[in-house]
């Protein structure tokens, strides 16, 4: 965002990320201790994309790992066999977007599952029967944005929920009304407001794959994922 990527040692970073992929399974670890999670599928591809080095990793292997993490409800889990969870849905969709492989997604089933994350209060939850949380304004809404289905939830009510989770004295946004604000929920609350088309103040458009302003992502040459979506998604 500060346009200072040139200060980073590209080769070292790319080498580090490459080294975290299992050459046999295609799965990606978070660090040398080997925790595997589809979060790292996204993070590794995102990092490499900043350096125009996505192909320095075995992309087919990563895509295979993500595909094996897809479930009966159209959602994605943390690993093959893992239960669907909105945050993992985002990371898998974003990874597939960067890898240009969104066609493997069951768009209908997943959209329906995501639409049901909205609760009466207008907030979104991460999976069935769980509590609403402002951060899902990002994980769920960015997923719906990638799928082209943000209008499948009530955005106005969602905005109302996000704003109600503000700390009226100190500022910032919490996970839900009455709790303590923190930067994480503030970031995702604002990103959610932007995706939901909130017009109360002037918000930058946010890219749903990178959680950064569209202007920044365009400048970095990373918006190409939009054009490589399946044709039927582009209505």
């Amino acid at each position: 965002m500060y346009d200072e990527l040139g200060r980073v040692d590209k080769d070292k970073v790319v080498g580090y990320v490459r080294g975290l992929q299992d050459p046999v399974t295609g799965e990606v670890s978070g660090d040398s201790w080997g925790e595997k999670d589809t979060r790292f599928a996204f993070i590794s591809l995102a990092i490499l994309s900043f350096f125009d080095s996505v192909d320095s990793i075995d992309v087919t292997g990563v895509v295979g790992y993500v595909e094996r993490s897809m479930n009966y409800d159209g959602g994605f889990g943390s690993e093959p066999g893992g239960e669907s969870h909105s945050a993992q849905v985002f990371t898998c969709l974003a990874a597939l977007a960067i890898a240009r492989k969104l066609e493997i997604v069951d768009r209908e089933r997943l959209s329906r599952w995501l639409a049901e994350r909205q609760l009466k209060c207008g907030g979104l939850n991460g999976r069935p029967q769980k509590l609403e949380d402002v951060c899902y304004s990002w994980w769920v809404l960015s997923s719906l944005k990638i799928l082209g289905r943000v209008h499948w939830v009530d955005c106005e009510r969602l905005c109302g929920f996000i704003l109600s989770a503000q700390d009226p004295v100190a500022g910032g946004i919490a996970d839900r009304p009455g709790d303590m604000a923190d930067v994480y929920h503030t970031c995702f609350g604002i990103a959610g407001l932007s995706l939901a088309g909130f017009e109360g103040f002037d918000l930058e458009q946010v890219d749903p794959v990178y959680c950064m302003p569209v202007s920044v992502v365009e400048r970095a040459g990373l918006r190409g994922w939009i054009d490589s979506r399946p044709e039927s998604w582009k209505d």
Partner: protein, 309 residues
Amino acid sequence: RVEKYCLLNTQVMTLRAQKKYTEEALAATKRLLELNTELHTVWNYRREIFGHLDEWRDAEKKQALLEQELEFLLEIIMKNIKSYWMWNHRTWALCQLPSPSWDGELRLVAKLLAVDARNFHGWDYRRFVVARIREASDDAAAVDRSEFLFTTEQINRDCANHSAWHNRSKLLPAILSELSEEKRQEVIDKEVDLILNAIYTDPDDQNAWLYHEWLLDVQTTAEAKRALLRNKVSAIREFLELEEDSKRPLIELVDAFVAMDDLQPGLVSDAEKKECFAVLAKLRSIDAYHVGKYADTEAMLRKRWAAGV
């Protein structure tokens, strides 16, 4: 208390910077992790220390050290049953153990899931343990059936336990692959009954319907799929008799007709097509949150069923 914590944190991080891999450092990390289980750098450091201890090179002593570690983890897991770091550390310990007790771990995770049946860390850990048991077993199919039974028990305890249904969805294909065509159909029929039971218990639960829809994918013949869909429509009509504005059954009715139409154009009668549009109009009025979705479905169906409706 905060001061004590900060002091301890500084102490541990200093030891780590000095690359101290001693018993003293180990003890310090333990005291710190008891206060805050989320310090993944400290868990990493603790594992590094273990690797440097003399006892680590002796299988018996290593076993004893790790068994103690598992006890320690058990003590603190209840502080935060959703901690990624603690579950990862336990997994690491089991992978390091010269003689792991996988059955013991299975019993343990069953107990933890009894406390929090939707804990995905617990379920992920259970799959890790079961995979090891399966590897070591000479009857992998029996292991699968046993796990399948575990999900049945969980579902009988609470038919809305989506984590159990999810796990079941991962086991069913393997179970089916072991069976003859006839036996397969028997199992699938039983599965349909089980999920319909869950649906009758809570018709508003989307996940139950999604599982039912997935069973369609599991069916191999078009005939079996048609039967399942007709079966679904009958079940929905029963609910709607009791409560005609029940949102979820109404949505599923439209979805069922779309699925039938996908299977074979002509399966859905003109009357049923008309009914879909009427249902969508009703849904727009009773479920304001999802009007966007209903509008899309209607537009899609109008395009598809343009003639004669």
